[in-house]
């Protein structure tokens, strides 16, 4: 397994090899991930599902470089990040990853524009092309008139769009969305999912989505179901009719 061809590794955005995560809670060791291996290729839109306690949050944290596996290897764009230091992980998060959270996680007393620019501040790269790209993103997500607003002046859907804008401001290789519609009503959820699908289809951003709603998972083209820290199933999206994502892609492109 360690002898995979280098080219193969390079093509994969994410490559997990027998990843384990064990938390020590006093005397008791809790196994959250029990040997997960998976690959995500460039441009994929993957939904990760599972009951609570199945390990999807832990998997998300490891994929998001917020945590390191206890055992096993994690390659992100061919770079082994599983034994990176905290600072190196921070840099990887800054350059290669974007996060969208269930509760938006925007800085409350900071304007929309500054929230979106936040990853660029820590990347020390607020150059002209970057600000241009930020403005492009703001236009794409229809946030022009809210640039000077504060997050609490916006609706939930608008806030989540700001969060998405922030997540893609640094042009990440992988976008991680953790229950992005969990706090939204169904209409706004559709709206947000449409934005994500659009980014996946038209911009080519690789998206990993954690959800426990089948309706939301249907937007993805591949669904991974976890159980007890292991992959239970890994199948193409089983939509009754045409996959919702494809339908969206066709209408927007």
């Amino acid at each position: 397994m360690a002898q995979r061809p280098l080219l193969k590794i390079m093509q994969d955005i994410v490559l997990l090899e027998a990843v384990h995560k064990v938390y020590k809670m006093g005397e008791v060791a809790v196994t959250a991930l029990n040997g997960i291996s998976l690959t995500v290729k460039k441009g994929e839109f993957v939904a990760i599902m599972g009951a609570s306690g199945s390990g999807k949050s832990t998997l998300m944290n490891i994929l998001g470089c917020l945590d390191s596996p206890s055992q096993g290897k994690y390659y992100l764009e061919g770079i082994e990040v599983s034994n990176f230091s905290k600072n190196e992980l921070a840099e990887i998060r800054n350059r290669k990853l974007g996060f969208v959270f269930q509760n938006f996680n925007l800085l409350s007393r900071t304007t929309v524009l500054e929230n979106i620019e936040l990853p660029l501040i820590y990347g020390k790269q607020l150059s002209k092309p970057d600000t241009d790209r930020v403005h492009q993103i703001i236009r794409t997500l229809g946030l022009e008139e809210y640039q000077k607003h504060y997050p609490n002046q916006l609706s939930g859907g608008q806030q989540q769009r700001v969060a998405i804008a922030r997540a893609i401001a640094n042009n990440p290789t992988l976008l991680l969305a953790d229950e992005p519609t969990g706090n939204l009503d169904s209409v706004t959820s559709t709206e947000v999912m449409k934005v994500l699908c659009d980014l996946n289809c038209n911009v080519g951003i690789t998206i990993l989505l954690v959800t426990h709603e089948n309706d939301i998972a249907r937007y993805a083209r591949r669904v991974i179901i976890l159980k007890d820290g292991k992959v239970l199933s890994d199948t193409p999206s089983k939509s009754s009719t045409i996959p919702a994502s494809q339908a969206l892609c066709e209408t927007t492109s």
């Binding site: 600072n87 921070a90 350059r95 007393r109 936040l118 501040i121 820590y122």
Partner: protein, 405 residues
């Protein structure tokens, strides 16, 4: 770095009341240090000026024992009458370490010129008094030996007396009256200023000591003998010689205490100066304690603030803030807080010094090094007390921080 500064400034502006209360400790600390040091410096410069005004190598011989405080009426009289003109002459003749001697006697009385009157000190002195006190004339001449010998009815005025009796008139060759006796003004002294004890040394009428003894007071004893040592180094030698001579002249037995005291004014002034220096240091130290208390206030608020903003820290970490970015952000915030406190404190300290000097009649001398040190110290307090909360914030686990409610 400018971005971090902006973030810190915004965080401070976000909660203005809390920020102003936080910096209050620093404001008071810096202000107190500056005010205390400038008051102390003012006192020191005042004493220094007075030290200059005393005159070189001045020794005072007073007819009171310092080891044995005279309390009884008999003791007072006995004490007062111990110094004589002969004592003064003997000191001049026999003490080799002494080069100038002036007998002196002093009383308080009213002096009159025309319809103006003024209550002042009438001080009887000898010709050497001017040299001993290192006190130049403004105009006219000083008392000479002949004036002393013939008990001349002449006088030399201090500036305060001139101002009160003559105003803008030239007092030379005018006649003033003391106890209905007319005295001719032969000279006017230059301004001398305050003594270390806070007396106005210019509020005086100088006359030959013989004149004051006979024509005004009707006594034969002396109130004080002024002497000067040959040099500053021979001061102690002079004191020993005078003491030995006077003990012999007063026929004191070895077990008897001195019925006089020889005081070196320089030592006296140095003591005051030492005291004021100690006071400055002490006041400054007490004031610095409040700076440290202010620093603890900053630490307290920064700890509350980092806890409150745990989720913000988590968000920043998620988008790529490194440990050092978070550390710098909170350290900058603490330092900016303490710097603002320091700047406001400088203004507060200057105002406080001015207030104390104008209401307390106490000179305040602003000391730029003290201001600089207080400001630097306030910054250091910010860094020192801001470091722990900042480090605590930077070590947060992003996963835990993001989930913090």
């Amino acid at each position: 770095m400018p971005t971090l500064f902006k973030i810190a400034l915004r965080a401070i502006m976000r909660n203005k009341l809390r920020s102003s209360l936080t910096i209050l400790g620093i404001v008071i600390g810096v202000g107190a240090v500056i005010a205390m040091v400038s008051i102390g410096q003012g006192a020191k410069s005042m004493v220094e000026k007075q030290l200059e005004s005393i005159g070189t190598n001045v020794l005072l011989i007073i007819p009171v024992s310092t080891t044995h405080t005279v309390t009884s009426a008999r003791g007072m009289t006995a004490g007062f009458a111990t110094l004589t003109i002969e004592d003064a002459m003997a000191i001049e003749k026999e003490c080799r370490a002494v080069n100038h001697v002036s007998a002196s006697v002093r009383t308080t009385t009213q002096v009159v010129y025309g319809n103006q009157n003024w209550t002042t000190y009438v001080s009887g002195v000898g010709p050497d008094y001017q040299i001993i006190r290192n006190w130049p004339l403004e105009s006219g001449r000083f008392i000479n030996q002949r004036d002393v010998n013939i008990m001349a009815k002449v006088c030399v005025l201090g500036q305060t007396v001139v101002a009160n009796l003559f105003g803008t008139l030239d007092p030379i060759d005018k006649w003033i009256r003391v106890k209905n006796v007319p005295f001719k003004v032969i000279g006017v002294m230059n301004t001398k200023g305050e003594s270390p004890m806070g007396q106005d040394q210019d509020d005086v009428v100088l006359m030959p000591y013989t004149t004051v003894q006979r024509k005004i007071m009707g006594v034969t004893y002396l109130g004080i003998i002024f002497a000067s040592s040959v040099s500053a180094d021979t001061r102690f030698e002079a004191i020993e010689q005078i003491t030995a001579l006077l003990r012999q002249r007063h026929r004191l037995r070895p077990h008897e205490e001195n019925d006089f005291t020889v005081i070196s004014q320089v030592e006296f002034a140095s003591t005051i100066m030492e005291t004021s220096r100690t006071m400055t240091f002490l006041l400054g130290s007490i004031a610095s304690v409040s700076l440290i208390v202010g620093g603890i206030g900053i630490m307290n608020i920064m700890l509350v603030s980092t806890t409150e903003r745990t989720r913000e820290i988590g968000i920043r970490m998620a988008v790529g803030a490194k440990e050092k970015d978070i550390l710098f952000q909170f350290l900058t915030e603490a330092t900016v807080l303490s710097s603002i406190g320091g700047l406001v404190g400088i203004i507060f300290g200057i105002v406080l010094s001015k207030l104390v000097s104008s209401f307390g009649g106490w000179p305040a001398l602003l000391s730029p090094p003290a201001i600089a040190i207080a400001f630097l110290f306030s910054n250091m307090v910010g860094i020192f007390f801001g470091y722990y909360p900042a480090r605590k914030a930077s070590r947060l686990n992003p996963i835990v921080a993001l989930r913090y409610e």
